[in-house]
Amino acid sequence: MIAALLLAAALAAPARAAAASAPAAPAADARALYDAGRYDDAAAAFETLAAAAPRDAARQYDLGNALFKAGRLGRATAAYERAFALDPRDSDIRFNLAFALRRAGEDFAPPGAPPALFWAFTALSERELAGLHWLAAWAALLLAAAGLLAGARRRETLAPWLAGAAAAWLVFGLWWAALRSVLPPDRGVIVAAHAELRHGPGQNFGVAFTAPEGRRVRVLGASGAWLEVGVLKEGARGWIEAASVERL
């Protein structure tokens, strides 16, 4: 059953990827614009490509490059974040995301985290971890069901497989939860230069602090056209106009 589902998913995924990367000519045109230094035009072209293939990490990465070169650090960081979420093991995506974050005064890895450990922790994307978690869950539940119905001799054969599946279920589940706590899904990136974060949702509230473009924030709440966000690095929180944040 699991094998059949995985096989179906594996067959369907490349087909989707092929369909997403089908417009090769527009991609070449966008690259030509990028190479010519027309970064704004290249960003618009890559944005169209990325919208057609939202699960294609390379398109998000290219879009991030064009936006970065065009001087839009915040939107570039958001594109790199999306690319990273899709393909966290790609070294180019990691490099450019870290580069953009440094420009915004933020480190890619949490302070004090050993680089190798952080790399390993983020080597699997959240969706990959979710897939592995569910895969292990399926295996554990079906093996348990088989064990319930099997005879004593068959049950002994199934026991180590069941233990392995259950352990994998636990490990991937905890890993998935930890990754979501470190890189919460309700994140955003400040896309306005020197954004002002206020004590409340409106211009009548005083400015609590300013944040540079490109800073990652966690969206804590919303009120009208304002978002309450927490700056991931410093932990400070404040209200910012929703248009100044690109949600991931």
Binding site: L6, A10, D87, A145, L148
Partner: protein
């Protein structure tokens, strides 16, 4: 003045080197200085020879050292030359702390100077020396004054301004008025100028003037003074030592007495009045890189070529020119650019004293080697100064220099640039990585992601597990109650026999009758939990009536009739006929009714 010229000529003739000892001494203008200020190191070399060596200055790590000029005084008495040269250096501190000026020596010097202690205070701390003690002196004034032995000879000293900023030029004018004939040599003692950097403003100007109806010949010396500390600074007296003919002839009796009187010179010394100068500190807000230059500067830059290959050298000449003590203009800070390698800078200064204003130009030549090809921009060089006219800090900035750098030939870089200390990569620029040429395909990753998105399908294993658990529970329950299980499965077993009987052809009527009879007896035996073999109709009916939920009398009557017919069909098949399917169906409905009534 003629005496001065004679003296210089005599000195020139007597300038042969001598083996006599030379002494050296050093003195700091003060022993504490703040960052951003300057102090003066005066190194005095003295000896009985006309040409004295220059001091060998040690490396003074904590200070930037600028040559601030030299002054020399000579005397030629009875054919013996004594010389005294003061070398002045401006020291600008680079860091805070207590430091020692190492011993200073020179060629021919036996005993170097002792180390000098100096303390550098943080910027803004008050380290200015107190005003010089003693007589306040006369503020700089242009009017000549008379001093000395008589009105025949006198010296005036004046300043062009009574007040100045630190490092701003003040011009000291000293005039020697002479109304009589001088005999022999004369000696000039320059005024003590502690707290100033000095720059002579040649030439010595001479002329005739009339003061109080008397005709004087005058000689004028101008000196540019640059105060190096704030406060009231004293300018000492200048002195002239000379000999004049004693012309008082009232006691002379004859020609010989008068002749001897004219040939008997009388030594005379005349002094100028001391002066004071009010020196104001520079206002706060000093820009970065400011080292105390006061004046007005302009800057320009040139390159010996702008078309160059990577690894080849280009000479950049940054020239700062204008007024002020340009000797203290520091080397411009080299930008830290990975695309360019800067080598040591050589400085050369050209002094200009036109109009008695010290100025000129200072040129810094730096060899630059581009490391990469392409268009490389050398950023502007900036010089900060204080403009006393506007009373504000200003910057003189060069224009940027654009170099068109062609790729260097293999090995060309090493021809002009020193080899790196260790082989390896040289980081030139920092930028993001390039686009994705060919998007990577990760089918397993995509499959996992798609599996994660399966949504409601993830309930399937849970449902399967629950179903398996329920089935296992039922199995376990059945295993623990075999009689109950037999009773629950009685109908199913009987139905199976009846279906088999109904399906038999007419030729198998005996077999069908036996199956129906077994179905009836087996059903009742399963319900009662007794063996089917040997079960009689009477025992079956009694057992059913004794159950907690006995079937109705009508149903029992139907069972009675069916049982007897089954026996009849089994043991007298000829009388039974060939309607086994019908009888099988009737028996099936009878057993269902019995089962339902027993379950209620």
């Amino acid at each position: 003045m003629r005496g001065l010229l004679l003296l210089l000529a005599a000195l020139a003739a007597a300038s042969a080197p001598a083996a006599a000892a030379v002494t050296v001494s050093a003195e700091l203008s003060r022993d504490k200085v703040s960052l951003g200020e300057q102090l003066t190191l005066s190194v005095t070399l003295a000896g009985d020879q006309a040409s004295l060596p220059s001091p060998r200055m040690p490396a003074i790590d904590a200070f930037s050292v600028y040559d601030a000029g030299r002054s020399q005084s000579l005397s030629f008495v009875n054919g013996r030359v004594t010389s005294n040269v003061v070398f002045t250096y401006a020291l600008t501190p680079r860091s805070v702390g207590k430091f020692k000026i190492p011993p200073i020596t020179a060629d021919g010097v036996e005993t170097p100077t002792p180390p000098l202690d100096v303390e550098v205070l943080p910027a803004g701390a008050s380290a200015a020396a107190p005003p010089p003690p003693g007589a306040p002196g006369r503020p700089g004034a242009p009017a000549p004054s008379r001093a000395g032995r008589s009105s025949d000879l006198f010296i005036s000293a004046s300043l062009d301004k009574p007040r100045a900023y630190v490092n701003q030029q003040v011009t000291l004018t000293i005039r020697f008025y002479n109304g009589v004939q001088l005999i022999g040599d004369l000696r000039y003692d320059a005024p003590a100028l502690t707290g100033f950097l000095t720059e002579e403003l040649p030439p010595v100007r001479t002329g005739m003037t009339v003061i109080d109806g008397r005709r004087y010949q005058y000689s004028e010396i101008k000196i540019a003074l640059f105060p190096i500390q704030a406060g009231r600074l004293k300018i000492g007296s200048a002195a002239i030592h000379c000999q004049v003919a004693r012309m008082d002839g009232s006691n002379l009796q004859d020609f010989f007495d008068r002749f001897m009187a004219m040939s008997a010179p009388e030594p005379v010394t005349v002094n100028s009045d001391p002066l004071t100068l009010q020196v104001d500190p520079l206002p706060p807000g000093k820009p970065d890189g400011f080292t105390g230059v006061v004046g007005r500067l302009t800057a320009r830059v040139s390159a010996d070529r702008t078309e160059v290959k990577a690894g080849e050298a280009v000479t950049l000449s940054a020239t700062v020119s204008g007024t002020g003590n340009l000797k203290s203009v520091p080397e411009p800070q080299k930008p830290d650019l990975p695309a360019l390698r800067f080598f040591e800078t050589a400085a050369s200064a050209v002094m200009d004293k036109t109009g008695d204003r010290v100025g000129g130009s200072k040129t810094f030549r730096t060899v630059v080697v581009p490391r990469v090809s392409g268009r490389v921009r050398v950023p502007p060089f900036t010089f900060s100064y204080f403009d006393p006219e506007t009373k504000a800090y200003a910057r003189a900035q060069t224009a940027p220099v654009d170099l068109n750098v062609a790729p260097g030939a293999p090995g060309a870089a090493s021809a002009s640039a020193p080899p790196p200390s260790a082989p390896g990569l040289t980081a030139i620029g920092d930028d993001i990585r390039y686009l994705k040429i060919s998007p990577a395909s990760a089918p397993l990753s995509a499959a996992l992601a798609a599996f994660a998105d399966a949504g409601p399908w993830h309930a399937l294993p849970i449902a399967g597990f629950l179903a398996a658990a329920a089935l296992a529970w039922r199995r376990r329950a059945a295993a623990s109650d075999p009689r109950g299980r037999r009773a629950r499965e009685a109908l199913a077993r009987a139905q199976a026999r009846l279906h088999e009987a109904a399906a038999l052809p007419a030729a198998g009527a005996a077999r069908a009758a036996a199956l129906i009879d077994d179905a009836l007896a087996g059903f009742v035996a399963d319900k009662l939990g007794v063996p089917a073999a040997g079960l009689t109709l009477k025992t079956a009916l009694d057992g059913l009536k004794a159950l907690p939920k006995p079937p109705s009398a009508a149903t029992l009557a139907r069972l009675h009739a069916a049982w007897e017919e089954a026996d009849l069909r089994r043991f007298a098949p000829d009388a039974a006929g060939d309607d086994a399917p019908r009888f099988s169906n009737e028996t099936s409905s009878l057993l269902k009714a019995l089962d339902e009534e027993m379950r209620r």
